[in-house]
Every structure is written in structure tokens, then in C-alpha cells.
């Protein structure tokens, strides 16, 4: 009896081992078919956009059950540092979120994959024809595509504090011209507690971070009718009466009129805080200003006004900087086809409209951009932004691979003018000389 029992245990244990091993093998086969697609970007770290991306992720995975989408949020300031290290280390994500200023410098350093073959596979001209043409300027390097534009971004909306306007006796609308802007800021700027220090400011100017400082200053120049580059893109043309008029006006808001806190102290968190607390009445910002302000101070509900940035005295037409967000595939990405599926998924109607009405980023798909839902939107940010999109033009200096150094040169000279180390004339002349040296090379 014991012998047969012993035999039974032996056989059963062998069957058990075979079963376990078989399950393991089948499980591995199942696992091997599933792809983990890594998507990295700074919007994944932001409250509202991350919620939208999460919803889209679920939809995408339902349609593509063989793909698991893994989000890798990264702070905005680290958005370039982390992927560079990952690409150099041979472990890049599969899809990278890039701003309009990132794709060309990255492409010029060999950090991104050439997407021409994928564009061709998607239909070539038929594919590119669906999207807003100027946006491709940000994704083309030496005639090849290195990104796909998925959003249009407008950063020159002028947000104002309705309560502060009301208290200053100003109308409930954004100023339309520079002289009106100055007048508004002067009416609002006050030392309310008479302690010798101003505690209410008419505006907030971006001056601490190079990227923000350069972009906003260039925007002011464009809205004064200035031209940035010659046709060949090898000469910086801002050292003109219009350019000087812009620099003088912009810097004198601090050096002379003191209608802003020290711009050199103002970065994204500081500006957000000061606007939300009702210390600065007007700020140029992207559409994310409203949700961030309400998150910081719910009492601002109903007090946030928005309009277009004012036009300069030398402006002949309304113009705004057209910026964008692109998706790129880094060099060495493991799952190129799956990455392309995710990128093209973000161009579908649902994703585009979620971004438009969830976070006020405009669709890059022309058909949707011109749809009544967008053109007749009641949301004030959408309406103000849409006008700017229609009048948008690409900032040509963003297309130069040396843009990071150009941006640094603009920032340093702007700060020199704010610190009154240089006159506006000298600052502009030095800025021009430095940029000419960079873009001429």
C-alpha cells in the first residue's frame, strides 16, 4: 500500500511540475506579445492635462490591447535633461513631448528619429495636408520631419484681474494698445498701505528664466510690427526703430514706471502666485493660467478676464506668435510602430477636442480648428486665443538650431537693460551682434 502511495505521490508531483512549467511558458508568451510604450512629457505632471491623458490612455489601450502605455511625467525644466541622458544611455522613452523650441535643436544633435518614412506610410502629403501647415516649421530639420505637431499653443493671451480693474475704475476689457496698457498699469500700481513699498502692480513681466523672457519679449516686438530675421534667416533684424521702441517700452515698464515687480525675480511660480493673490493685475500667459490660478486661489473665480496682448504703436496688423507642441520619437526608441500609433491617436477628433476644451490648446488638425465648435466657442479663452491663431505667425528664430544660445543672448541683454547696466540702444546693438554671430555661422 505504501509503495503504491509513494508511486502516486511521485507521479502527481511530476505532473504538477509539468503543469506549473507549462503555465509559466504560456504566461511568458503572453507577456512577450504585450508592448510597454513609454511616453514622457511635462504635461503628464500637470493636474488637468494628466487627467485628459489618462482618459486617452484607457481609450488607446482598449483599441490596442497589445500595448500598455506607461506615462513618465517629468518637470518642465527637466524635459530636455532627462531624455538626453536616456538617449545617450540607450534607454530612451518611445514618445517625447516637445515644445516648438526643442525639436530642431534635438534633431540637429542626432537625438531624434527621422520620421519621413512614417509620414509616407501615413499618406505623405495627404497626412501633412490635414494639419496646420505653419506648425511643421517647428518639426522640419534639413528637409526631414522629426516631430508631429499635435497642438497649437498661444502664450500671449493677456489675463487680467477684473476686481483690480474695477477698483481702479478701468473698463472690463484688456487694453488694446501699448499706451492704453501703460495707462492701465499706472492706474493700478499703488502703495496701498503707505509703507513706501508698492504692493499692487499693474502687470507682471517674465524676466527670470531665459526661455520665457526671450519668447515674451520677441512677442512684443512682433506685435509692434518688427521683423526678426531676413529671408535667408542669417541676419537678426531687430535693431531697427521698431525694435528699439519695443525694448525701450518693455524695459521702462520697470526701470522708469515701476508698474511691475522686478522682472528679474519673476518666473513661472512667482508670476502664478502674484496673479492669483491679486498683487499683479495683468500677465501674459498661456491658457493654463486660468486653471492654475483657480487652483491656487478659488476666490479668483469670476475675476479672471482675458484678451489679446496689446498692439504696439508701429504695428500695422494684429499678429501673434504661433507656437506648438509636437510629439517626437527619440533615437533608439524600442517600439517605433507602437509610438506612431499613439502619436496618430492624439490627432484623432476625440483627443484633439479634449485638449481644446479641457486645457484650451487648439487642434493642429485644420478641419477641427475650423469647426463651429471651436470658431463659435463661448469660452473667452478659446475666443481670444482663436483670434490669435488666425493671425499667428511662426517666430523664425525658433527654427534655428542655435536657438538655445539665441534665447540666452536675448535674456542677458534684456536683463542688462533692466539692471540699467546698458542703455536700451546698447543692449539691442549687443543682442543683434551676438545673434548675428550665432545665426551667420
Amino acid at each position: 500500500m505504501f509503495a503504491s502511495l509513494k508511486k502516486m505521490v511521485k507521479v502527481s508531483s511530476r505532473i504538477f511540475v509539468v503543469l506549473v512549467l507549462s503555465l509559466g511558458v504560456f504566461a511568458q508568451i503572453g507577456l512577450a506579445e504585450k508592448i510597454t510604450l513609454r511616453f514622457q512629457g511635462w504635461r503628464l505632471a500637470e493636474t488637468i492635462p494628466s487627467r485628459i491623458y489618462e482618459e486617452l490612455r484607457l481609450d488607446f489601450e482598449k483599441i490596442n490591447p497589445e500595448i500598455t502605455l506607461k506615462f513618465e511625467p517629468v518637470p518642465y525644466d527637466d524635459r530636455l535633461v532627462k531624455p538626453q541622458s536616456q538617449i545617450a544611455g540607450g534607454a530612451p522613452p518611445d514618445v517625447l513631448m516637445m515644445t516648438e523650441a526643442d525639436v530642431i535643436p534635438f534633431a540637429s544633435q542626432g537625438l531624434l528619429m527621422n520620421l519621413d518614412s512614417l509620414y509616407e506610410r501615413e499618406g505623405g502629403k495627404e497626412f501633412t495636408g490635414k494639419l496646420l501647415e505653419p506648425l511643421f516649421d517647428f518639426d522640419l530639420y534639413k528637409g526631414s520631419y522629426y516631430g508631429v505637431p499635435v497642438e497649437v499653443v498661444i502664450i500671449e493671451l493677456l489675463f487680467y484681474n477684473k476686481r483690480m480693474f474695477r477698483e481702479a475704475g478701468l473698463p472690463d476689457r484688456a487694453p488694446l494698445t501699448w499706451s492704453e496698457f501703460l495707462h492701465y498699469t499706472q492706474k493700478i500700481t499703488k502703495d496701498t498701505d503707505q509703507d513706501g513699498v508698492i504692493d499692487k502692480y499693474g502687470c507682471l513681466l517674465w524676466g527670470k528664466a531665459p526661455g520665457d523672457a526671450a519668447k515674451f519679449f520677441v512677442g512684443w516686438a512682433l506685435r509692434n510690427g518688427a521683423t526678426l530675421l531676413d529671408e535667408k534667416g542669417t541676419k537678426f533684424l531687430l535693431n531697427t526703430p521698431k525694435g528699439l521702441e519695443t525694448l525701450r517700452f518693455y524695459t521702462e515698464l520697470w526701470t522708469q514706471h515701476k508698474v511691475t515687480p522686478d522682472p528679474i525675480d519673476l518666473d513661472f511660480p512667482a508670476i502664478g502666485r502674484l496673479y492669483a493673490q491679486g498683487i499683479g493685475a495683468m500677465v501674459q500667459h498661456g491658457p493654463w493660467c486660468k486653471p492654475l490660478t483657480l487652483e491656487a486661489n478659488p476666490d479668483m473665480e469670476g475675476q479672471i478676464g482675458v484678451g489679446a496682448s496689446p498692439l504696439g504703436p508701429s504695428a500695422k496688423t494684429n499678429v501673434a506668435q504661433l507656437l506648438g507642441m509636437s510629439m517626437s520619437i527619440p533615437r533608439g526608441a524600442k517600439h517605433v510602430d507602437a509610438a506612431w500609433k499613439w502619436i496618430t491617436f492624439l490627432l484623432e477628433d476625440k483627443a484633439q477636442m479634449e485638449f481644446a476644451f479641457g486645457i484650451n490648446f487648439f487642434p493642429s488638425v485644420k478641419r477641427l480648428l475650423k469647426s463651429p465648435r471651436i470658431t463659435e466657442a463661448e469660452d473667452l479663452i478659446m475666443r481670444a486665443g482663436f483670434d490669435m491663431v488666425l493671425n499667428g505667425q511662426v517666430n523664425q528664430i525658433l527654427l534655428n538650431p542655435q536657438y538655445p544660445k539665441i534665447e540666452r543672448a536675448i535674456w542677458e541683454e534684456l536683463q542688462s537693460a533692466w539692471l540699467e547696466q546698458k542703455s536700451p540702444e546698447k543692449a539691442l546693438s549687443d543682442m543683434t551682434a551676438r545673434i548675428d554671430k550665432l545665426i551667420g555661422s
Binding site: Q84, V197, Q415
Partner: protein, 287 residues
């Protein structure tokens, strides 16, 4: 190989392998990178990266800024650290609690502490200006601690001084506790004063520790990055740009890896020469 050699290999082998992997290999890779062009997979460019670094007009400013920062920060660390160590070496109630409290700046994560300081130093709303201007009226207007070139440098020296004295304090305190009490008693019997005790007993006994601490503090301060990046990011107008922030910017903002590693290698060579001279002085002293 005899038994002793085998034992040495067993005990020190893993350490040497780790040091090679963690220190040696990255150094070799960086050295190689400094002779390559910018970007990824670019070719050999010889000494052109080094030439570009040495001819860069900003190099003089960065060197000056770094030397100022290192000089004054280390001085602050030693002044505060040595003084506090001597105080904490005295017998007093609550000594243990004071030791922990005084170490707190060193223990707080650097970025967290620095963010706090950026609030303290804010021109319009910082507590420092609230005290010196609004309360005590020591100045006629709020000071631009982070937005004026001169004051920005002073601010980062102050913040690093606050953060870094703890290391000096701990090292000196350990050294003080190793000084034989009999030496002080003997001096007291001979009629020596407290100042005599400091110069003739304390300092000579602490000489080796002070020199090692000085060297380490200088090297760490040369390489320091967090406080500068968070408080000023090298601004305004490069007035607080150091080698550390310059390397970061050239590598990760301008994508010029070859150029950035050339700066890093030059800095490494400079510090190595300093280290060799220093070690020789220390060794001569101990002989």
C-alpha cells in the same frame, strides 16, 4: 601570491573594482567625450573643444565668480563651524540638543532649503527685507538680494555658508574631543590663558583635521550646483555663473557635450593639481 596578499585582494578587491566602475570609468568616458564633437555619435575633433573653452569670453567671469564663491564660502564655513564646535565642546546643559539643532541646515535636502531661502530673500515679500526694511529701517528700500549682481553673489555665499558649516563643525568637534585634557591642565598650571590654549594646544592638535576639512570643503564648493541653480541660475546676467552651472548649461541646454566635458576635465585637472599641492603640504606637516 602569499596568504597576506590573497587576504588583501579579498578585502580590497571589491572596493577597487567599485571605485574603477563608479569613478574611473566615467572619468575615462568624459575624457574621451571631450575630444569628440557635440551631439551624439560625432567624430574626433582634437583639441578644438579645449580651445573653444579657453577662448570663451565668459571663462574669465566664471573663474572669478567661482573663486569668489569658494573663497568666501569656505571662510564662512570655518568661522562658523570652528566657533560652534568650540562652544559645543564645552560642558553645558542641552548640549546634545544643540548639536542636533545646529546640524539641521546640513541635514535638510539642499533644494528644499534653497527654495525656502528664495522666499526669505525675495525683494518684495521676503522676510529678510521685512525685518531690515519694514521693522528695523536699516535700509532705505528693500534690497534686491537675488536680482542685483553683487547682492546675488552675496546671497548664494550666505546660503551655502548656512548650509555647509555643519560639516566643518562635526569634523572639528570630533577632533576637539580627541585632544588630551592634560595638555590644557598643564597650560593652566603654567599660567596660560584661554587664547594661549587655543593657539598653542587646540589649533596644533586640530591641524591635520582642519587641513583635510579645508580641502574637502573647497572641492565640494568648487563643484557646488544646487543652491546656485535654484536661487539664481547663474544670473542676473551671469553674475553668479559658476563652473558647475556653466557645464550644465552647455551640456543640457546647448547640447554641446564635447564642449561641456572639456570644461569639466579642465576643472578636474585644476582641482587635481590643487589636491597634489595640498597633500604634499599636509604630508610635510605631519612629518
Amino acid at each position: 601570491m602569499n596568504r597576506k596578499q590573497r587576504e588583501l585582494l579579498v578585502f580590497f578587491g571589491p572596493l577597487i573594482i567599485t571605485l574603477i566602475a563608479v569613478l574611473g570609468l566615467p572619468l575615462i568616458i568624459a575624457f574621451r567625450q571631450s575630444f569628440l564633437g557635440d551631439g551624439i555619435n560625432t567624430g574626433f575633433v582634437g583639441l578644438s573643444n579645449y580651445k573653444e573653452v579657453l577662448l570663451d569670453p565668459i571663462l574669465g567671469k566664471v573663474l572669478r565668480n567661482t573663486l569668489l564663491f569658494v573663497g568666501f564660502s569656505v571662510l564662512l564655513h570655518f568661522t562658523i563651524g570652528l566657533g560652534l564646535a568650540m562652544l559645543l565642546n564645552l560642558e553645558m546643559r542641552g548640549r546634545k540638543i544643540f548639536r542636533i539643532l545646529l546640524l539641521l541646515p546640513w541635514l535638510i535636502p539642499p533644494v528644499v532649503g534653497t527654495l525656502g531661502w528664495s522666499w526669505v530673500l525675495s525683494k518684495e515679500w521676503g522676510i529678510l527685507n521685512a525685518i531690515i526694511f519694514h521693522q528695523l529701517h536699516l535700509v532705505s528700500s528693500p534690497l534686491p538680494w537675488l536680482t542685483s549682481p553683487g547682492l546675488a553673489m552675496l546671497s548664494i555665499i550666505m546660503v551655502w555658508g548656512w548650509r555647509g558649516y555643519g560639516f566643518v563643525m562635526v569634523m572639528v568637534l570630533a577632533g576637539l574631543q580627541g585632544i588630551p585634557v592634560e595638555q590644557y591642565e598643564a597650560l593652566a598650571i603654567d599660567g596660560g590663558s584661554g587664547i594661549d590654549a587655543f593657539f598653542y594646544i587646540t589649533l596644533p592638535n586640530l591641524r591635520f583635521i582642519l587641513m583635510v576639512t579645508l580641502f574637502l570643503d573647497m572641492v565640494w564648493t568648487f563643484q557646488h550646483f544646487d543652491i546656485i541653480k535654484v536661487l539664481t541660475d547663474g544670473g542676473p546676467v551671469n553674475s553668479t555663473e559658476m563652473f558647475s552651472t556653466l557645464i550644465y548649461r552647455v551640456a543640457f541646454r546647448f547640447f554641446e557635450f564635447g564642449h561641456a566635458t572639456a570644461i569639466a576635465i579642465l576643472l578636474f585637472l585644476g582641482l587635481s593639481i590643487l589636491g597634489v599641492i595640498y597633500v604634499r603640504i599636509v604630508l610635510r606637516g605631519t612629518e
